[in-house]
Amino acid sequence: MIFIVMAPIFIMFKYSLSDRASVVTGGAVIPLWPYEPTLEQYRGLLSADRFIGAAITSLKTALLAVIISLILGVPAAYALVRYRFPGILVLTTFLISIRFFPDIVSVVPVVEVFTPAGLVGNVAGVAAAHCLLSVPYVIFIAMGVFESIPGDLEEQAQVLGAGKITAFFTVTLPVALPGLAAAAIYVFLLSWDEFIFAYFLMAFSDLSTLPVLLRKILSWTPQHNLLAAISVLLSIPVVLFTFIVQKYMRAGATAGAVK
């Protein structure tokens, strides 16, 4: 199993480092590792406007999605944890389970609605669509974070002279920060490798996020090592962050296991 898990990743690296001769071998024996590993592809990519442009678009989209989802999701999670009014459980379940709504079903109406609103072919539109996916996750993760902070802390701050708002900003928020950072990273990754919304919203524009760029390049039947190199660059931040926030990712992945 380890082999099956690792093999595709190995192949990706191998191709991204391959020189021309190792990829296109006219009948000669193909080596397990490229004859002359080269960073040529990466060098080429990092100086290509198209690639840099897509990377920047991806970055902008992801950051915008992070900001919007945190602004919307964190206060909502706080309210859902700290306030008790009738129907709040149903509401929580509803908000969190919106993430189960199939994205491929919503993508056509989203494009149709976004087109007249001028949200097609730009970063804002893609980020707005990504928020539909990410806000439920933020609510879910942030609820877990706030639940783990005893309400005593805030009440204590109030008794010591802080108003509700001051208590939140001086006590609850600083304590919650590491957990909320995990939520932010989660949203970043979700937006970073999201394909469907980005593709439909950017299919006919010059703007592309990295996954969309990959798809667009694919239609020119490009060289394998170029594809592999972009793939590696796209994966690196995801792999890094995933292991940083593994604990929280697990919670997110297994969400719904307890009903």
């Binding site: 005593d152 802390l153 009440e155 109030q158």
Partner: protein, 365 residues
């Protein structure tokens, strides 16, 4: 410092009435303890006074000012939570400074006040530590220091000692008493530990199921409990409560417990005369039963069942015609299955109504 008055306070969660018609006045500089079994509404009362919980009906006054609608941060009340609620992201000094900073005290004053309170609570040198690097007792003192550095009108303590081990609890108990003496603050203290309540307070309020059962000085409550609940809540081992009947024979009143017949001395005759012929509950504390032939009253023979030595004293359970009784003695030589004579100190005995559980004398007063 201040005077606190609860006036007919009621708290409901939905339909569930958790606090029922609660009235109590805490005088200036007084140490009042609220005791009662778990879930009887003690914390709720404290939280209403702090402003953390809405009052369903009734009023709370601090220094004669109605505080029902004043938010917690404006009440000038400090509270120490059972969990201490120390802010984990701040050092000890920052924790203590929290309230002072919110009150916009000048920096120099804040520093000197922190120094003072670190000294007062023997926390010197710990100012830069985080709460997680402190022991339980130190955390507890930080929580106290943080509350008291604001010189609040009232200090509220919700089971502050319940998270500490037995030895530390004893030490902090005397510490609290010293602090109260030095700072002369009005303290409202919640606990379910009757020993803490008795040893610390000027007055004790006993609660049960949301109702204030009795209020008074510790010894007053101990010696003349208003009903069987209060009687059995205070004291360890608890008071012996026995089914009995009062009978009049000639001019003398007798208490019949099973087949035993105990004469009441003349001085109580008046008080209990009207109960003649009634079923009652007879209450006697373990320390008011003595072993031996000599003493006031007639000895009865009982069989020793269990002996629990405590060192200086022993708790002894005896069987008196199938009725179990606990008593405390300093005699060291008692062994199980022996038959011993015991004497009830009838002057200290309590009589409760069988139906209502009310103390017959208190009710008459």
């Amino acid at each position: 410092m201040a005077e606190v008055r609860f006036s007919h306070v009621i708290k409901k969660y939905g339909k569930n009435e958790v606090v029922k018609d609660f009235s109590l006045t805490i005088f200036n500089e007084e140490f009042v303890t609220l005791v009662g079994p778990s879930g009887c509404g003690k914390s709720t009362i404290l939280r209403m006074l702090a402003g953390l919980e809405e009052i369903t009906e009734g009023d709370i006054y601090i220094d004669g000012i109605k505080t029902n609608d004043i938010p917690p941060q404006k009440r000038d009340v400090a509270m120490v939570f059972q969990s201490y609620a120390l802010f984990p992201h701040m050092t000890v000094a920052e924790n203590i400074a929290f309230g002072l900073k919110l009150r916009r005290k000048p920096q120099r004053e804040i520093v000197s006040r922190i120094e003072e309170s670190l000294a007062l609570f023997s926390l010197r040198g710990l100012g830069e530590r985080r709460p997680r690097d402190l022991s339980g007792g130190q955390r507890q003192r930080v929580a106290l220091a943080r509350a008291l550095v604001l010189s609040p009108k009232v200090l509220l303590l919700d089971e502050p000692l319940s998270n500490l081990d037995a030895k530390l609890r004893l030490r902090m108990r005397s510490e609290l008493k010293r602090i109260h003496r030095e700072l002369r603050s009005t303290i409202f203290y919640v606990t379910h530990d009757q020993v803490e309540a008795m040893s610390l307070s000027d007055r004790v309020a006993v609660m049960n199921e949301g109702r204030l059962e009795q209020l008074g000085a510790p010894l007053e409550i101990y010696n003349s409990p208003k009903n069987t609940f209060v009687a059995s809540f205070l004291g360890s081992p608890p008071i012996n409560l026995l089914q009995a009947r009062i009978q009049k024979e000639g001019e003398t009143l007798y208490v019949n417990i099973g087949p035993c017949k105990l004469a009441l001395s003349r001085q109580f005759r008046e008080s209990y005369l009207h109960c003649a012929g009634r079923d009652i509950i007879f209450g006697i504390r373990p320390e008011h039963i003595s072993i031996g032939e000599s003493g006031k009253g007639k000895p009865i023979l009982a069989t020793v069942d269990v002996v629990e030595p405590l060192g200086d004293r022993s708790i002894i359970t005896v069987a008196l015609h199938k009725i179990e009784l606990a008593l405390i003695t300093d005699a060291q030589t008692i062994s199980p299955l022996r038959t011993i004579p015991i004497i009830f100190d009838m002057e200290k005995a309590q009589f409760f109504d069988r139906e209502s559980g009310e103390n017959i004398i208190c009710k008459n007063r």
